[in-house]
Symmetry: C2
Subunit: 369 residues, 2 copies
């Protein structure tokens, strides 16, 4: 496959962009119809890779050509984005996807046509390019959103600055949007596992109790669905430092979905699953089965609404929720008819989560797969 062989040839994004441009200009010089080969990124070309346990992009490709009037606009946009990315890399700066849009938006001379009408046109083109070059936008010097924090016994080197994540006070280290190895180096780590926490408030609670010191771990929050940089960091902590990863979310469809994205990636970014997913991650909690196990008062549970029930029924059919432990939990949730949030553990006392719940779960290896 042409696309694949290109990947093997070159992995430097600048070279790959140059290559893409040379292919197009080469065709034009030969008065041929220039084309760009792109992987198809729709559901029809996404599959669950049973061996690697990751959501992967299939090998269906499409060609975007200049001389097809249905493609011309997108062809132009793809080249504009590619050229701007190369320019940004050449200048050795980085920018946001919103800036990219603004830098490229203009009226084409002697027409009423704009290059891009709004950012909804430039964002998918960028994802196409990431997929086509098999690279990350971070490697194209484009910043994704960021919002995660981490604390624990690890030294990070960020663009030359050495940061000790065990000395970051109440706020922790802010995980940057770009957590690629050329920017973020994992210098030295004494921690034995990573605890990924859905909610920042719970992270702050655990940081205040210095949970990471007592249990010699890293505590990390993505503040909801983790941004790309946070998922990449989790992936690297596991791959490079061999740290087990335990995920702590609400016991609801959204929490379980966050876990599944951390573990096997997402459909939307399926071409990045091997860099953003961590298939060996385990689910530490909370579950609806914890209510009985830990004697959590029933009145802090939340009744499932119709949307919750529908979602939970859908999840029963997802291939990554097929393991019997997950089937059991999802069916239990439907049976008892409630969900619960991490904060519900506070009903057992403010320190219950750090002094009882988590230590007990970890000691007994009471995880879902």
């Amino acid at each position: 496959m042409k696309n694949d062989s290109m990947h093997r040839e070159k992995t430097d994004p600048r070279e790959m962009l140059k290559n893409l441009g040379m292919n197009v200009t080469g065709k034009i010089e030969k008065v041929e119809n220039p084309e760009i080969t792109l992987p198809i990124r729709t559901l029809s070309n996404v599959f669950f890779d049973e061996q690697n346990k990751l959501i992967k992009l299939g090998d269906k490709i499409s060609k975007r050509t200049y001389m097809n009037v249905a493609h011309t606009r997108k062809f132009m946009q793809t080249l504009l984005v590619a050229a701007e990315c190369k320019k940004i890399i050449d200048q050795n700066v980085s920018t946001s996807i919103r800036d990219l849009y603004y830098a490229l938006k203009r009226t084409i001379p002697d027409t009423n046509e704009n290059t891009f009408e709004d950012q909804n046109e430039s964002d998918p083109v960028l994802e196409d390019l990431e997929a086509a070059l098999n690279t990350l936008r971070e490697k194209l010097h484009l910043q994704a959103d960021r919002k995660g924090y981490m604390a624990g016994n690890i030294l990070i080197n960020d663009t030359g600055d050495e940061i000790d994540c065990s000395k970051m006070g109440s706020s922790g280290w802010a995980i940057p949007s770009n957590a690629e190895p050329d920017v973020i180096k994992l210098s030295k780590c004494d921690a034995k596992f990573v605890l990924v926490i859905e909610k920042d408030a719970v992270w702050q609670r655990l940081n205040e109790d210095k949970f990471w010191r007592k249990h010699n771990c890293l505590i990390l929050t993505g503040k909801g669905q983790p941004a790309r940089g946070t998922r990449r960091l989790i992936n690297r902590l596991h791959k490079e430092l061999k740290l087990p990863v335990y995920v702590l979310t609400d016991a609801d469809a959204w929490g379980f979905y966050i876990y599944s994205v951390i573990k096997q990636g997402s459909i939307n970014l399926s071409f990045l699953s091997d860099r953003l997913g961590t298939p060996e991650a385990k689910f530490i909690g909370i579950t609806t089965q914890d209510v009985q196990k830990f004697d959590i008062p029933k009145n802090v549970t939340i009744k499932l609404n119709e949307g919750d029930k529908k979602r939970t029924n859908e999840m029963l059919n997802y291939v990554w929720f097929k393991p019997k432990e997950w089937q059991q939990e999802l069916k239990h949730m439907l049976q008892v008819g409630y969900k619960l949030e991490l904060e519900a553990l506070s009903a057992k006392g403010i320190k219950f989560i750090s002094e009882t719940y988590l230590p007990q779960k970890i000691a007994s290896k009471d995880f879902l797969p």
Copy 2:
């Protein structure tokens, strides 16, 4: 005024909470109707303090009594929240407002009544208590949301950890939810001013160019409307370190509103304006008048919609937008019929903002008041 004299007597939140409880139990022991005095927090009791240039809470008070059936539920809730806050302070831990709700939610024995139905009931009670005690939730050991970042030549001491904000790599120092002096100490600062930036992407752009080093300043972003901790930090940087504060937002109603909240506080949290507002802050940009001044291409401006026009017309009447420079800008915006985002400056090149726009604005003191 009873409420005011209580403030003067005690400023330790624990003592104030104890006081509140003692007043109630004292009344009960005397078989009198217990009551709690609270400031009224609606628009009718909010005014713009011309002298201090802050939105302030007036002196109207209301009494919440136990023996009034319309008050009984709220009276109970107020005491529950107050008692839980005292407990949290006594344990020397802190928690989130969501945790607070969960810790207090229960069914009252032998009834079908819950103490709180949802968090929308406990949040306003907490704000009542903050206003009544003239304190911050942070002082009650409750965390607000957090999302800001800062970089520059300043040493911060956070709960014993010394953090050098000039050595925080690409991500900067994460501003914590609680930026009160007992947690965050401003140890040493060489910077000469503070640049507050609405958008994180622009902050990252400036951090990458090490703008703060070249211009010896602190760069700070609130990622949209700054959280309370970020506003408190801006307030302290100005008050304690005498640093001028310049605010950089989009040229639109939302950006101008963000500036106004940083400067004179908000109606909702009017009782905190003197701790969260920075009346001496100046607006550095961007403005619709910058389009001509800096030759920004027209096609990166965004046409005002009906909502924008309505909002801008409203703002013309706000007392804090009465200075002639603001009247001129708001009228100009309506006249040209467009708004623009910070990223629009990228149309002039990726480094235009850091190398031309900001240095020129600062050198010529081209600020709005």
